[in-house]
Symmetry: C2
Subunit: 244 residues, 2 copies
């Protein structure tokens, strides 16, 4: 028996997130079907994270255990032949049995893409949030440093969630522009439900002056969801890196 | 009465090309519906080109005639509010009544995008052709110069077509690489049905050694569809520029 650690990328536009659901197509479900075809049996596939409907992954890590005699390159090729074109296996290696894609993870990085052109870009409808008002990325980057540190982030969590411990350590946050695209990149030891999308929405409140200069820390400390910004839409969000 | 010249961009993934068809959703149809909402009447919308199912446009020019008193910026905003997110109006201006989006055009430019990574990129499934074998873009660019000039291109035309004059003047052809993406860019006074996609497929035959060095001109002169390469798939093709 070996534990395979598999890295995939996916365009989440057509999926209701990662996790299997009874009434909607999810990445996990489609992946498990491909696994069943390749390995000849239904195997338990464990993922590193739930992702929401329409959210993408540049790097998503999962594990499965198998007795099958197949090379790691063979796994990559066979799975890719059995997956739809919007999911790709990019790596496969072995790990010890104490490795868990979710619990062994030391930090995760998300990137949020915002298209800041005056007129929408029709090629980015599913891949970035179109926001037409002026953004000073340098100013937002400066203000966003208030997120870095260990805080009770319960004001940056959707009410759907029933997590008990809402303290998270944000290791880095950066906002930068490349042409008409503005990127929000955040690394943390973990994330609450919708946390990145609420952080982005809150920075847009900062951009619009609805949250005053240097008062983002007060918003965090208030733990009041109503003082944070709107939840930015899902199509701009990418799970970018999972660190172990 | 004024003639409006409108420039749009569209992601063709969800459309059966430009031209209205009885049993499939096309860009022209969706655009005419938006026009009817904005102008309050069904107007005749003339386009610069047919495009195939799944083909995209970075620049597509069309005209319509109206008596309505509305600014050009107003037309842009009103149409964009009534169009789906995969079509965008990026410009609107007036022209004389002898201007025709198709017949006044002096040349068109297409770009074909080929993703040359070993493993497919799930974000490019609808936006580039995945071709995994090595490509020497410099060599192909050199060989592709055989296309430049005035030739009877009947060997580079799908049989569906019933055009009588198959002579076209190719003004420029370039092949270049940016990272894992290889671009084929071609400008001509006009194009036959599937001409660009057959040109790209033929250059892949050159790349694979199925067409020998410096013999592409013979293939063109043979006017034999069987000596040219396969028709490359539609999702890599973009109408890039229309010159008047």
């Amino acid at each position: 028996m070996r534990r395979l650690v598999i890295t995939i990328q996916y365009d989440g536009s057509s999926y209701h997130g990662w996790q299997v659901q009874s009434n909607a197509v999810t990445v996990q479900q489609v992946f498990q079907n491909a696994v069943e075809k390749v390995f000849g049996e239904r195997l338990d596939v464990k993922g590193c994270s739930r992702t929401d409907s329409g959210v993408h992954a540049n790097m998503y890590v999962l594990t499965l255990d198998t007795d099958m005699n197949i090379s790691n390159d063979g796994v990559i090729m066979a799975l890719n032949s059995n997956l739809p074109s919007d999911i790709a296996v990019i790596d496969c290696k072995e790990a010890d049995f104490d490795f868990h894609p979710r619990y062994s993870c030391t930090s995760k990085e998300y990137v949020y893409k915002l298209y800041n052109g005056r007129i929408r870009n029709p090629f980015l409808a599913d891949y970035a949030f179109h926001y037409r008002y002026p953004i000073d990325a340098h100013y937002l980057n400066e203000q966003a440093q208030a997120f870095v540190g260990t805080y009770d982030y319960s004001g940056f969590c959707s009410s759907k969630s029933d997590v008990e411990d809402t303290v998270r350590t944000v290791k880095a946050f950066s906002v930068y522009r490349e042409g008409d695209m503005v990127y929000f990149k955040v690394e943390a030891d973990g994330f609450l439900y919708n946390m990145v999308r609420i952080m982005v929405g809150t920075l847009l409140f900062v951009s619009e002056g609805k949250i005053k200069k240097d008062s983002l820390k007060d918003v965090i400390l208030s733990k009041d969801r109503k003082r944070a910004g709107k939840t930015a839409p899902p199509q701009g969000l990418y799970l970018n890196k999972v660190n172990y």
